[in-house]
């Protein structure tokens, strides 16, 4: 049994001018200890998916439907107090912006200790001792002094390390990281990614990594879900996705990224563009969500939504024309 099973998740928001189908029928599984990346561009529903798993979506105006089974238990049927026992304890989350997600008026030790006192009933003293231990784990120098400091005294990279320490304090089985390195500089990003890889081996938690950066995906993920306009359009093991992307959107995304080192290999080409814009999520799209921007689209694509089909072992894609043998000819 998978650690997390998300089945036909639909998170819709009621707005004055219609229902916004931010996530519209997304299913995936995460095995224990696995790293799954969810990638897509802004507005594709990847963050809403993450927030829905922890039920952090305000209802109303939001509405979550479908099933989210964590260790066989459907999180959507739990009461709020039961849910609170899970958040930060069995499933925890790292947010993008370490500046705004830490409390500016509490010292770092209090913030790490909070989850420990709440979920494990530690005393204030034990919680602080454990907080120092967690700071050591995430590689903060002088943890004994830093534990008393406030977020404004820390750099961006250190704040993100503190966020990771808070998230891992209770030994969660699942860690959801929503764009954990997007706000950081590249050299700091490299530090944090290295830390996440290292901690994964030591702590053994499964990770759901939400990102728009395909480079980050290639570095840390084992499996990848590609989302577009609220739908999952492709899912594959990481190597396979980058080698033989089956969905035209994934192909387009990979083609529109300049490759570092292209000046060395002499492979500098014009970047591929995906024409047009993401469709509005407020109208029901009868056919393929990508049809309006896809160069291969036919009448069939506009009329009938393609089902997610197995194209290779572990590799599924929602496209009428992606073959089992390989990607459609460009």
């Amino acid at each position: 049994m998978a650690l997390l099973e998300v089945e036909n998740l639909q998170t819709h928001f009621r707005t004055p001018d219609g229902v916004n189908r931010a996530v519209d029928g997304v299913s995936f599984e995460v095995a224990a200890g696995e790293t799954l990346a969810i990638v897509g561009e802004s507005g594709c529903g990847k963050s809403v998916t993450a927030m829905s798993i922890l039920r952090l979506i305000p209802e109303p105006p939001g509405k979550i439907a479908g099933a989210i089974r964590f260790q066989g238990k459907d999180l959507l049927t739990l009461s709020e107090p039961e849910m609170r026992d899970i958040r930060g304890n069995e499933i925890s989350m790292i947010f993008q912006e370490p500046m705004t997600s830490l409390n500016p008026v509490l010292n770092v030790g209090r913030q790490i200790g909070e989850t420990l006192r709440l979920h494990q009933g530690l005393s204030a003293k034990d919680a602080e001792a454990k907080a120092v231990e967690m700071l050591t784990l995430v590689g903060i120098p002088e943890p004994g002094r830093r534990v008393r400091e406030y977020p404004h005294q820390l750099s961006g990279g250190m704040r993100q390390r503190v966020m990771i320490a808070i998230a891992l304090a209770c030994n969660p089985k699942l860690l959801i990281a929503d764009e954990p390195t997007t706000a950081l500089d590249v050299t700091i990003q490299a530090q944090i990614l290295e830390l996440m890889r290292d901690l994964k081996h030591r702590v053994g938690a499964a990770i759901v990594l939400i990102t728009h950066d395909l480079g980050v995906v290639a570095e840390v993920a084992e499996r990848v879900v590609v989302m577009y306009a609220g739908k999952k359009v492709e899912e594959a093991p990481v190597g396979q996705l980058f080698r033989t992307p089956r969905h035209p959107y994934t192909q387009g995304l990979l083609g529109s990224m300049p490759k570092l080192g292209s000046s060395l290999t002499g492979t500098e080409t014009r970047l591929a563009e995906i024409p047009g814009l993401v469709p509005s999520l407020k109208q029901k799209i009868p056919g393929c969500v990508f049809a309006s921007r896809c160069s291969h689209a036919t009448d069939l694509c506009v009329k009938v939504a393609p089902a997610l089909e197995l194209k290779a072992p572990g590799h599924i894609a929602a496209c009428h024309y992606a073959t089992k043998e390989g990607a459609i000819a460009a």
């Binding site: 802004s42 750099s155 050299t187 995304l253 060395l264």
Partner: protein
């Protein structure tokens, strides 16, 4: 090639006020002695991490604030000490595209007014029919439909707004456009559209670009030369291929190896820097990078290295500020071309 822009020893320090009487208690050495030039029709990229001073350099050239010291020469004319009145015609020749397409357009102006303003300000249109024609042509240039001129900025997507921002910069018929993180806020697929547009425009109009960015993959894709900044100083300037194939400064090497590449399982040589960038209020003595440099030795802590030509570089015009190049080649880890191993190509 003739030089369009020549910057010499540019410094910009921001005073820190504090204390009981609000006196100056310190200085932020945001840009501390930066020299480079841009040829006509050339793209020079300024790369570095946040806080290294790259945006300050751009703003100082545009004279969005006065500079502390140094000299900025545009096409043979010194512009850093010009009075506001004499500067005005010079401003037409250098324009800017900002990072955030949502805040850099006036929400209460229609697109046609946004584009007409610079044309009118610099008296580039003969009459109102000519003005309308110029605005329509600008829409063509940035591949937006002509009939969208009557719309408001909020009616456009992020990528389209950035096209309007570019059209506004082009309206003044400049020689130099400073792109300050102009594609950083855009999604991958839209980013490609804008990068292609900028490249096309440069080829069509012969523009020079100062491309300020932290995204090395985009920089490699569109630039001719690269200048790498760290803590208010330029540490390396080189033609693109020379820099990416054989970086000659340890910071450049670390930057290149830190960029995630979309190749799962790529075997790369890693240089992971420890610690954070020091504060520009109190920069380290000697080489500013020595606190994080994996190769630092005694001399780096006391003597500041100067930017100079590197004999082991791949191409001419490759300069770096590092003492390692004074050592015998066997003791200089940057003597060989490491780019392939760092980027896993």
């Amino acid at each position: 090639m003739s030089k369009l822009l020549d910057v010499t020893d540019l410094k910009k320090h921001f005073p820190i006020r504090g204390g009981f009487f609000g006196g100056v208690t310190g200085q932020v050495y945001a840009v501390d002695g930066v020299s480079f030039h841009i040829d006509k029709g050339e793209t020079l990229s300024l790369v570095g991490e946040s806080g290294c001073g790259k945006s300050t350099v751009g703003k100082a050239i545009l004279r969005l604030f006065g500079i502390t010291d140094g000299q900025v020469v545009l096409d043979g004319q010194r512009i850093d000490d010009m009075s506001a009145g004499t500067l005005r015609p010079v401003r037409r020749r250098m324009q800017v595209v900002f990072q955030d397409p949502f805040t850099s357009l006036n929400p209460r102006m229609r697109v046609k007014d946004i584009l007409a303003e610079p044309i009118r300000n610099f008296g580039l249109a003969k009459n109102s029919a000519d003005l309308d024609e110029k605005v329509a042509k600008l829409m063509d240039t940035v591949r937006l439909p002509r009939d969208a001129v009557g719309r408001w900025p909020h009616e456009f997507s992020g990528g389209q707004r950035q096209r309007i921002g570019i059209a506004r910069a082009l309206a003044a018929e400049p020689d130099l456009i400073i792109c300050d993180e102009a594609v950083s806020a855009l999604d991958v697929s839209v980013k490609a559209q804008i990068v292609n547009l900028l490249q096309d425009l440069q080829a069509e109009l012969g523009l020079a670009l100062l491309f300020i960015s932290h995204d090395l993959a985009i920089v490699e894709h569109m630039t001719h030369r690269v200048a790498v900044m760290y803590l208010g100083k330029i540490v390396e300037v080189a033609p693109k291929r020379s820099l990416f194939a054989a970086p000659k400064h340890p910071y450049t090497e670390a930057l290149l190896s830190a960029v995630p590449v979309p190749m799962p399982g790529a075997a790369r040589q890693r240089v992971i820097l420890r610690g954070d960038v020091p504060s520009p209020i109190n920069p380290p003595k000697g080489c500013r990078f020595h606190t994080r440099c994996p190769y630092a030795f005694d001399r780096c802590r006391v003597e500041e290295p100067l930017l100079r030509a590197i004999p082991t570089a791949l191409e001419a015009g490759h300069t770096a500020a590092c003492h390692l190049h004074d050592r015998p080649e066997a003791e200089n880890p940057l003597a060989i071309a490491k780019g392939q191993a760092l980027l896993a190509v």
